[in-house]
């Protein structure tokens, strides 16, 4: 009986935690009501772009999360560009032309970032090689 209650309490707590996490997911953002676009498809595009654009003032936040003035200005600018018919790529280019690649939260794949993107895979291959070699040797002995 005690264990059954215990399980019920456990389930209850986990549910609350999940629900709390959900509310945070929906409400913990800096987008203000007057910024939101009527067209849902356009709004979700704006949210997608905002999530991938760095807030240059706070640097480790996206403009979607940040309440800095510049972040708000950029969110509005992105929404206006979407309304004017710009594509996502055009908006990303517009922003990187002005602020550089640093404004993208995900660094683009190019020659200067080749090491950044390829090293994890190289290390992974080295790891496989080492484990394989080690296994072979231990079987032999």
């Amino acid at each position: 009986m005690i264990t059954k209650d215990f399980i019920l309490i456990k389930v209850f707590i986990i549910t609350i935690i999940i629900l709390l996490a959900q509310t945070c997911k929906n409400n913990c953002l800096a987008v203000e009501p007057d910024e939101i676009l009527q067209n849902q498809e356009q709004e979700s595009r704006a949210r997608y772009i905002s999530k991938n654009i760095r807030c240059m003032v706070c640097q480790n936040q996206s403009i979607d999360d940040s309440s800095a003035i510049l972040a708000k200005d950029l969110r509005i600018l992105i929404r206006n560009k979407i309304k004017e018919g710009y594509t996502n790529d055009e908006i990303f280019t517009f922003l990187t032309e002005r602020y550089g690649d640093f404004i993208l939260l995900k660094p683009p794949f190019k020659l200067s970032t080749l090491a950044l993107w390829s090293l994890p895979f190289i290390f992974f291959l080295i790891g496989i090689f080492v484990v394989f070699k080690h296994n072979k040797n231990s079987i032999r002995s």
């Binding site: 240059m56 640097q59 200005d73 600018l77 990187t96 032309e97 002005r98 602020y99 550089g100």
Partner: protein, 176 residues
């Protein structure tokens, strides 16, 4: 041979420690980012002038002489701190300085310039910060050096200090 290979992880570890140590001790402000507009043309824009009746047209203002462009606002305290250096650029160095009044109240800005002195040849009004975005501005005060061909050669984010004043003074002679 195998024993010798065992030294490799230690070697890599020490190398990483060395790189981290170097990055820690070098003097570097992570807030200061290189401008993406370096060696590019001045953005084109048209807006109102703060102190004159006529429109501010960027095309007419550049490409004649070396120009400093200074983003400022009355609500920004560091802008007040650097103002004496901006005045020195105008008075001692005889530089043409264009002020861009960023997201500010125009009446307050006019009073502010009356009180502190006006080193600017013209002041453009950037009411909603849109011009700032075209210049890649993210933390005013920001100061740009534009050469006589209308190309941006340098950007400084933050107030101009004594060292920065000397640095810009040297740079103006180089960018001609």
């Amino acid at each position: 041979m195998r024993k010798k290979l065992l030294i490799l992880p230690l070697f890599f570890f020490l190398l990483i420690v060395l790189i981290f140590y170097y990055l820690l001790i070098i003097e570097r402000n992570p807030y200061e980012l290189p401008s993406n507009l370096l060696n590019k043309d001045v953005p084109l824009f048209e807006t109102e002038s703060l102190l004159k009746e006529e429109k501010f047209i960027s095309d007419k203002e550049f490409k004649k002489e070396i120009t400093l462009v200074n983003f400022f606002a009355t609500w920004c305290k560091p802008c007040q701190d650097e103002h004496m250096y901006i005045k020195r650029f105008a008075n001692d160095k005889g530089l043409k300085i264009i002020g861009i009044n960023y997201k500010d109240n125009s009446e307050k800005a006019i009073l502010w310039l009356k009180k502190l002195g006006n080193p600017y040849a013209t002041v453009a009004v950037d009411k909603n910060g849109r011009i700032g975005i075209d210049w890649g501005v993210y933390g005013i005060p920001e100061t740009f050096i534009v050469n006589s061909k209308g190309i941006i050669k340098y950007r400084h984010v933050g107030p101009i200090t004594k060292t920065e004043y000397e640095k810009i003074s040297l740079l103006i002679n180089e960018v001609k």
